[in-house]
């Protein structure tokens, strides 16, 4: 079809049958030669249409496969009913409000930590400092401190670094 006499080579190039160097050479020629460029445009368009058709056919086959499994014949499952979502939201609100109310009840000085009345709470830093300086074992801690071995662990960790 190309009057330049390169139709068969152009076709082979479009079909991917030419070596890389030969294809580049021919491509370069087609850039300069209007007749070959014209033929190449047709060949490439034709190839694209065939490829598109092939791809569409694959999609069609997949769709038929899906239809054969009766997946698409069944109604599409709807989203969960609204009351389900509301129940979930209500449960979340109740859960959060319980959490908030319990965190708002702050213990009085020493309350809940086993401190004797009038004894001030120690900060973690103070406790650590105390334990680091003495290096005493948990069992030697003075009664009423209430933390058992907790602070000792912190101190040991700090010392170990």
């Amino acid at each position: 079809m190309s009057r330049c006499g390169k139709s068969e080579q152009l076709e082979a190039m479009v079909m991917g049958e030419l070596s890389g160097s030969r294809a580049s050479e021919l491509q370069a020629h087609a850039e300069r030669c209007a007749v070959c460029r014209h033929e190449l445009d047709w060949l490439q368009s034709e190839r694209r249409m065939f490829e598109h058709r092939r791809a569409r056919e694959q999609v069609q086959q997949l769709w038929e496969g899906l239809a054969a499994r009766r997946v698409v014949a069944a109604p599409i499952p709807q989203r969960r009913r609204d009351w389900n979502r509301w129940a979930l939201a209500a449960a979340a609100v109740v859960f959060l409000s319980i959490g908030l109310s319990s965190s708002q009840v702050r213990p009085q000085a020493g309350e809940g930590y086993g401190l004797a009345s009038g004894e001030a709470m120690m900060s973690l830093e103070e406790m650590s400092r105390d334990l680091r300086s003495t290096g005493r074992d948990c069992s030697e801690l003075r009664p009423g401190m209430g933390f058992a071995c907790g602070p000792y662990v912190v101190a040991s960790f700090a010392d170990g670094r």
Partner: protein, 195 residues
């Protein structure tokens, strides 16, 4: 020893040549693997020739039944695709002969070879173009269409097409050339040409 080594290669990874040899020796699994590799291409080819989905399914089965019976005659084992499409083409034409004959009014008057060419990059590949392309293909003479499809859609070399169609090499080239020109003429109004 070599035989043992060959056996250890998973059948799916075996070369086509090896599979054909094994199928010719009567290995059922080898034939099945060849079937799996080629069935979709053969089915597409028959769908294009027959334009009837049920007939194409039936013809695909018939093609593989015949291929099984004739496989021993295939000497060049790498040419299986041409061998299968050649059988498929015979099956399709037998089907055409049985059914009502459709008159193909495609004329052989020369077509102006220099039609404006489309820009391949800006081709709008939508459903409409797809349908027009299918119609244009269907309007080609069945033999001519078969040859064009073997070349462009299935990538067969001209020599294999000649063998599959029972034509000489110049006839194959001429028929494919004419099919292309006709297709271009029919598609031109839909693809937009640039001179």
């Amino acid at each position: 020893m070599l035989r043992l080594l060959r056996k250890s290669v998973p059948i799916e990874q075996s070369s086509e040549e090896d599979l054909v040899r094994r199928a010719q020796e009567g290995e059922h699994e080898a034939f099945r693997t060849l079937f799996e590799r080629h069935v979709s291409g053969v089915r597409r080819f028959l769908g294009d020739l027959l334009k009837d989905s049920a007939a194409a399914d039936e013809a695909t089965q018939e093609t593989f039944v015949r291929a099984h019976a004739l496989l021993g005659r295939l000497k060049d084992r790498v040419r299986l695709q041409g061998f299968l499409l050649g059988i498929a083409r015979n099956v399709a034409f037998e089907h055409h002969r049985r059914g009502p004959t459709r008159e193909f009014i495609e004329d052989d008057t020369p077509i102006e070879a220099v039609l404006p060419a489309p820009d391949p990059e800006s081709l709008m590949l939508d459903r409409e173009l797809e349908m027009q392309f299918a119609e244009a293909l269907a309007s080609l003479k069945p033999e001519r269409r078969a040859a064009l499809l073997m070349r462009v859609d299935h990538g067969l070399p001209y020599e294999e097409i000649a063998e599959a169609m029972g034509w000489s090499l110049p006839t194959v080239k001429n028929e494919i050339h004419r099919a292309r020109l006709k297709l271009r003429q029919l598609m031109l109004p839909h693809v937009g040409g640039r001179s």
